[in-house]
Symmetry: C2
Subunit: 408 residues, 2 copies
């Protein structure tokens, strides 16, 4: 007898047949005596279809109106899933974000949840109903429809679990858990039974697309027990995201390897090595609303220094343009970009207490003749930028070097 | 300087290109200094797509959840139209039924409007914005999404015009007005400049699909000036639906001819000719939620009588089944159905003051050898049931007989 929040992504509800399967799974939990709240995404492809439609009208769609349009994707799914449950004899009721209500700020297309009213959901749960909530959406104080940004349905799931003090938040997706790395790149990749929140945050932010990073932050903040599972397997316990570091002595130092092909590198060379130069370079980039990820500044020589950073690949041309417009001002010798790069990161809380992790990483790459272009470290991760063509090779040799292919 | 409510149907907003054209038309009215409230339907085909999706889950979709699903069609259109207006530099804001709010009862899939809150719309109009409202939908007192039934967007338009005391409610459709009859059947059919509300009600209820009947009733009740126009013509004044009968002496006695191929006839013969028999026959039919249209009971002979009525063609098999289950109880000699029939009606307020209209109709049909199976009359219309195969012929000869092809 527990209260479980389950979130199903777009692939899991991609067809009427799959929605019926979700209903069957929900029915099994219900039959076990659990209370179930289900959060669903739009059917796969639907959000993109709606965005394309909007872009046929406006190249840069008005954010308020875009939210009105794209929030319909989840609204359709909640109705369909409620029907599927009723068809199997289980009472259910659907809720849009506004009906719950999930109150957000007014930052259309990337709103943040401010509060959740649990009254209606509680009443339905007490009446034995399954509660179905549209993910990804909310309503602001003026009653405008808002959306939480791509992947926001995970955040809805975690936020509902927090508001309802649920025993567990289960994120159903098309993979059966969190892996040591992408099995498409390394067939020996293993599923992790547990991963810490901090590791998951690093994995998520580094391009492991299992969970949206905000939902992981949210779960950490509100102590929500989070589990990633496959919606296409009958059983399987998935990967549990834990708060405590594993006390298992045998736990490997590195838990996983994440990678990302979606960044590009910018080099700004020969800028004066003086205070404020980083701001002069990155200020205009931030003003242009371009996300900067890794930032490296080399030690200067002869009064000048070189400055490198990464941006989303799509934003490379725009970034170069922005920088060229301030090139004279920042007195840079050259500005160049490279989008044939990738980022590879090893992640693990064990790094805190183990030395030599970085040198093992660098040696392993060197032995394969892979040149490292940039390095960035945090307490529990080391990221490197290398030539895109080495991605698969680098991930495979690192996976082996850190013993991730061995059953623990 | 007037306040105009414009309603655009599914065909008028069927593609992004057409939505842009609607925005252009709205912009023209705005440029003339008018305040404009726009009501839109779902893009053509969208409601059917959503209903099919629902039926893949549940053969008889749960009404509450069906409304959650199908209301998204209009929600997408309001966002797109608001964007199209903003793209042409006109400030606009979209509203779902719930956001307005349009309060309805809780009769899902066929809700009735109870009240409309005009506060937000007024504020937007005062701020110079075009207000865009999703047709066909509302919200009940508990916050559940409701829909008004097929064609409900017309009703939304008229209801908003009434609530806002608009100067005119313009219904844009794919025809340029109300015709004396369907031009596809009679090429000589003429567009009417005006038609009375009563005539329009008869025309609408008899299968002339220009306007939804409830919206006409609503307009009559709240004295809303209603005009039917084409969304595909630049100019054109359409057909105005008036409250006063035309004082024009030359106005023909018959204003138009409506027809309907969607009914079937049921014959119940040899039932005891005693009080209560009509209720015993039609009670079970009503209980089965089957709409009955024309009802004829012949004068009885030898203590028994024959009873005929029409139902929607789709409901014929079900009606027969219902009646067979009570055949012994009502002591009927036979129960039979015929779905190869059609209904043809002549409509006109002039009938009130003119005699001989019925005999002209019957003579005209007789001259063509068309047998009349049933007759039903009201103050301003005469309907007959004839063999389906005579439909086009009957409409054509009646159109000519009543001088409807002559320019007035």
């Amino acid at each position: 007898m527990a209260l479980i929040v389950q979130k199903y992504g777009g692939t899991s509800v991609g067809t009427p047949e799959r929605i019926k399967n979700v209903a069957k799974r929900v029915a099994r939990f219900k039959a076990q005596g659990h209370d179930v709240v289900v959060v669903v995404s739009a059917m796969s492809g639907e959000t993109n279809r709606l965005i394309s439609l909007a872009k046929e009208i406006q190249a840069n769609p008005d954010p308020r109106e875009l939210d009105v349009i794209i929030s319909t994707g989840e609204q359709v799914t909640i109705g369909l899933l409620a029907m599927a449950l009723k068809e199997s004899g289980i009472d259910a009721r659907s809720y849009t974000g506004g009906q719950v209500k999930i109150l957000t700020d007014s930052a259309f297309t990337k709103a943040r949840i401010q509060s959740i009213d649990d009254e209606n959901m509680r009443a339905d749960l007490n009446a034995g109903r399954v509660v179905i909530v549209a993910g990804f959406q909310g309503v602001d104080a003026e009653g405008n429809i808002t959306t939480l940004g791509r992947g926001g349905s995970d955040t809805t799931g975690v936020a509902l679990a927090a508001a309802l003090h649920a025993d567990e938040c289960q994120i159903y997706t098309d993979v059966d858990g969190v892996y040591t790395t992408d099995p498409r790149v390394v067939p020996e990749a293993r599923k992790l039974k547990t991963i810490t929140f901090e590791e998951m945050l690093e994995m998520a932010s580094l391009g492991s697309k299992v969970l949206q990073i905000r939902s992981v932050e949210f779960a950490g903040k509100y102590n929500v027990k989070l589990r990633v599972l496959s919606s296409f397997q009958e059983d399987g316990e998935g990967t549990l995201i834990t708060f405590e570091e594993d006390s298992n002595m045998e736990k490997p130092v590195v838990s996983g390897i994440a990678f990302n092909r979606d960044e590009a590198r910018i080099n700004v060379t020969g800028v004066p090595d003086k205070p404020g130069i980083a701001y002069q370079i990155l200020g205009p980039v931030a003003d242009a609303n371009i996300d900067v990820d890794m930032i490296i500044q080399n030690v200067g020589q002869e009064g000048t220094t070189d400055f490198s950073f990464t941006v989303p690949k799509n934003d490379l041309p725009r970034t170069i343009k922005v920088l060229e417009s301030v090139q004279d001002h920042i007195a840079a010798r050259s500005i160049s970009g490279d989008d044939k790069i990738c980022k590879i990161s090893i992640v693990g809380v064990g790094m805190r207490s183990h030395v030599g992790v970085a040198s093992t990483m660098f040696r392993t790459l060197a032995e394969e003749g892979i040149n490292i272009q940039m390095i960035s470290t945090s307490e529990i991760k080391i990221s490197v930028i290398v030539d895109e063509k080495y991605l698969e090779l680098a991930v495979r040799v690192l996976h082996k070097a850190f013993g991730l292919d061995q059953v623990v």
